[in-house]
């Protein structure tokens, strides 16, 4: 039996969660929300995490009902992510690990998403679409690694959506992506936007530039903001579904798992579901509790590593902004 606590703070979400053998005991989170038209910057985000981390830690421990002495391993996000917020949370994890005298494990953020998704949905060996504000990857597992099949060659899909929300001054509360999704439901008129798929890879910067440059004339031409949200979603999600289907066909896989913050978008889920039905595959997705960055995913992935014998030396418990999904050997997977 392993009880693990996980600390996550690689972007604007601060999360701490506790798991016991795959059972979620607590999952606490705070989000740093910026005013409309503005994104979150490393310094301010780090300050937000610093101001909230101890309170969230107290909450997570109280809610879980476990005693600190029962915790077996302390896990934190080693990367990828923004430097200052990562460091802020890592310092807290390092400190409590020393105070409680527990082993410390640094976890790859992307692996956290994937393992959490597999745990919650029960997907066995899926093609993973990992979509968030900082990442867009199509991943297939093969021989002890999560291999990146396709990815964005410039900005992440979530970043494209967030920045479009800033162009039309949508609220960042609870998240820009959520507000685009709601507004898109009212959209009717489809505007043809640049569509950029290169083999397995996708590109979003061209669409964003197109929107930035033409927003005034599009609005003048009779497209509403809702129409543009709708068109943007239809276009970028079609690109994601297409590349996922490519990987599915190439690997002859039968399962798709969507993880990451953009993964809780119901329109993306519906489109992916339709594609899966057409080719007899099964779709697995989770809701905002687990899609959006959280501490539980770090705790769970860390527990898997711990169980399979992974230990980290103190001097290896640093943070890194660049940490690719395929750098981690998945010691916990037998297949």
């Amino acid at each position: 039996m392993v009880i693990a606590i996980g600390f996550e703070g690689s972007a604007n979400k601060l999360g701490i969660g506790i798991v016991k053998d795959g059972e979620v005991l607590s999952n606490c989170r705070r989000t740093y929300i910026t005013p409309p038209g503005e994104g979150f910057l490393p310094k301010e985000t780090a300050i937000h995490h610093r101001q909230n981390v101890l309170q969230v830690l107290r909450e997570a421990i109280d809610k879980s009902g476990v005693k600190v002495s029962d915790i077996d391993v302390v896990c934190y996000t080693k990367g990828p992510g923004m430097g200052a917020p990562l460091a802020t949370v890592a310092i807290v994890a390092r400190t409590v690990a020393q105070i409680w005298n527990k082993p410390l494990l640094g976890v790859n953020h992307c692996i956290g998403h994937i393992e959490m998704g597999r745990l919650i949905t029960g997907a066995k060996n899926p093609i993973v679409l990992y979509v968030s504000g900082g990442n867009t990857q199509v991943i297939a597992y093969s021989k002890k690694r999560y291999r990146i099949f396709g990815e964005t060659i410039d900005i992440a899909v979530g970043n494209c959506l967030d920045r479009f929300a800033r162009i039309i001054k949508l609220s960042n509360d609870p998240s820009p992506g959520y507000n685009i999704e709601q507004l898109a439901k009212k959209g009717e008129k489809y505007a043809l936007l640049p569509y950029c798929v290169k083999g397995m890879d996708v590109s979003f910067s061209g669409i964003l530039t197109y929107m930035e440059e033409r927003i005034e004339s599009l609005l003048k031409d009779g497209y509403t903001e809702a129409d543009l949200c709708y068109s943007l979603q239809e276009t970028v999600f079609a690109m994601l579904v297409e590349t996922t289907e490519r990987a599915l066909a190439h690997c002859e896989a039968t399962e798709v798992l969507i993880v990451g913050g953009v993964g809780c978008n119901e329109r993306l889920q519906a489109m992916m579901h339709q594609m899966c039905v057409e080719r007899d595959a099964k779709l697995f997705a989770t809701d905002e509790r687990f899609c959006i960055d959280n501490g539980v995913m770090i705790a769970h992935a860390g527990a898997e590593m711990f169980n399979s014998g992974t230990r980290m030396k103190w001097e290896d418990c640093f943070i890194t902004q660049r940490y690719r999904t395929d750098e981690v050997e998945t010691t916990w997977r037998e297949d």
């Binding site: 690689s10 504000g133 291999r147 569509y195 290169k198 397995m200 489109m271």
Partner: protein, 225 residues
């Protein structure tokens, strides 16, 4: 289309096998994708059928073997083309052949791509599933010698004509990653492909330098959040 039998559902199309005007034919049907907005779907379908036809013809004119086209029908969203009954994909070939045959194949693939790029054709979706190996003697023997085998390039839906090194380098990068995620052999397939490429492409140095840059782009991306 009555006698045509579905043989495969790829990511973008359904493949049917049958006879057309008395010869074995393959129909590639870019069926409507329900998940995609119909305006977008129609636009992409037309773009890709046109791209595919153009590239297949252009390849033929420079001596790269591609399927012969029989009929192109934008209304029915399909292309009728030559079917290769005695063929396997390079993917299957690499799974089943011995190392020395795989080495020969890799160099041949490289030569083919070198020639294609020298003529400014960018494939856009190079994988080992998109290269066929056919036996010219019309028999199903592939794994003994390479003498009677020929390479056929297929699936040009994402192709375009491009003279800059950027897109050629990305083309090779897509193939490299597809190979890494599909094949584990003792010989380095991709290095051998680049060797073959060199032989057929005079501007290979520029393309290879660009390839280094494209590779670095992937690794250096910060992937925040």
């Amino acid at each position: 289309m009555e006698d045509f039998k579905l043989i495969k559902q790829g990511a973008e199309s359904k493949l049917f096998k049958g006879r057309y005007l008395g010869v074995p034919a393959l129909v590639k049907d870019r069926f409507k994708k329900a998940y995609r907005h119909s305006t977008l779907d129609d636009t992409l379908m037309k773009e890709r059928i046109k791209a595919e036809v153009r590239a297949i013809l252009k390849c033929k004119s420079v001596g790269i073997r591609t399927p012969t086209l029989y009929l192109v029908d934008l209304h029915r969203r399909s292309i009728y083309m030559e079917y290769f009954p005695h063929s396997v994909t390079a993917k299957e070939f690499i799974f089943n052949a011995n190392e020395s045959l795989i080495e020969i194949l890799s160099v041949y693939i490289g030569k083919l791509l070198g020639k294609m790029h020298a003529n400014n054709i960018v494939h856009g979706d190079l994988t080992t599933s998109n290269i066929l190996i056919s036996n010219k003697k019309k028999i199903d023997i592939f794994y003994e010698t390479f003498d009677n085998l020929e390479l056929i390039l297929i699936d040009f839906g994402l192709s375009h004509t491009e003279s800059t090194v950027e897109d050629k380098a990305v083309d090779l990068y897509v193939l490299e990653r597809a190979i890494l995620s599909t094949h584990t052999t003792t010989c380095n397939i991709f290095t051998l492909i680049l060797n073959g490429y060199k032989a057929e492409n005079k501007s290979c140095i520029e393309v290879f330098n660009k390839l280094e840059e494209v590779r670095a782009r992937g690794r250096k991306r910060t992937m925040v959040g």
